[in-house]
Symmetry: C2
Subunit: 144 residues, 2 copies
């Protein structure tokens, strides 16, 4: 699937499929049903809403994208992207989020009162040399 529209798009997918979104701008895309994999590539100011993903949701080369998971996703990976908002549901709190070469990644998870709590993922890391190897610690944001 290859989308280049600048409008609101809604897709209903019933079988296992892979969604690849490339070069979209100022759009909102809703993916209904369970899909195998979602890749958001080179998008700017894009919103993606999906229910369930079997494998992974990947965000690469993006700028200011918002991704909302309403169901479950085992892995969400963000690579070479800046300014990313990830909205997770109560069922999707277990996934591990992988980041590389990215900055300003915020994850919003439902809190105890069902209001969304924002967590900023670290984007800077300190490597200090100890006992013959480097030890990496993330630089946390204040008030994260």
């Amino acid at each position: 699937m290859h989308l280049l529209y600048e409008a609101e798009i809604e897709i209903v997918i019933l079988c296992k499929q892979t969604v690849y979104i490339f070069g979209c701008k100022d759009s909102v895309l809703q993916i209904k049903g369970k899909v195998n994999n979602i890749t958001v590539d080179k998008c700017t100011k894009m919103g993606v809403v999906f229910t369930d993903v079997f494998a992974a949701c990947e965000i690469v080369n993006c700028n200011s994208v918002e991704v909302q998971c309403q169901g479950t996703a085992p892995t969400i990976s963000v690579d070479n992207s800046a300014g990313c908002q990830l909205y997770l549901s109560k069922d999707s709190l277990e996934p591990s989020i992988t980041t590389a070469k990215s900055s300003e990644i915020n994850v919003l998870v439902p809190g105890p009162d069902n209001d969304m709590v924002e967590h900023a993922l670290p984007q800077q890391y300190i490597h200090s040399f100890k006992d013959g190897q480097f030890l990496t610690t993330p630089v946390s944001h204040s008030g994260g």
Copy 2:
């Protein structure tokens, strides 16, 4: 200081100064004496050799640069860069190396037999949600 030559350059600085290297390509720059700060900005295939830095050596927006510290440097920071080789001396093993939005950063430190041992800094991080907050762990390279 603003350098745009494509050749071997040698600078002797005796007082506290700041060195700013911008847009250099296929060059080797040697900085002698103690300087306050060194910034390498938007350079490609650049080599920088320095003895001592009081504050920090910063590598930003670079591609394939090699930086060698022969004396001491309290902080070396790499931001938005890919393919960076950092050569540290025995006196400069204490600095903390800070990375952000960078990939393929290798640090070479003198080993017990004075041969250089290469350490690849992690470039990918996993964030897992536990007890109401995200826990970040670096993804290590095999054989690092």
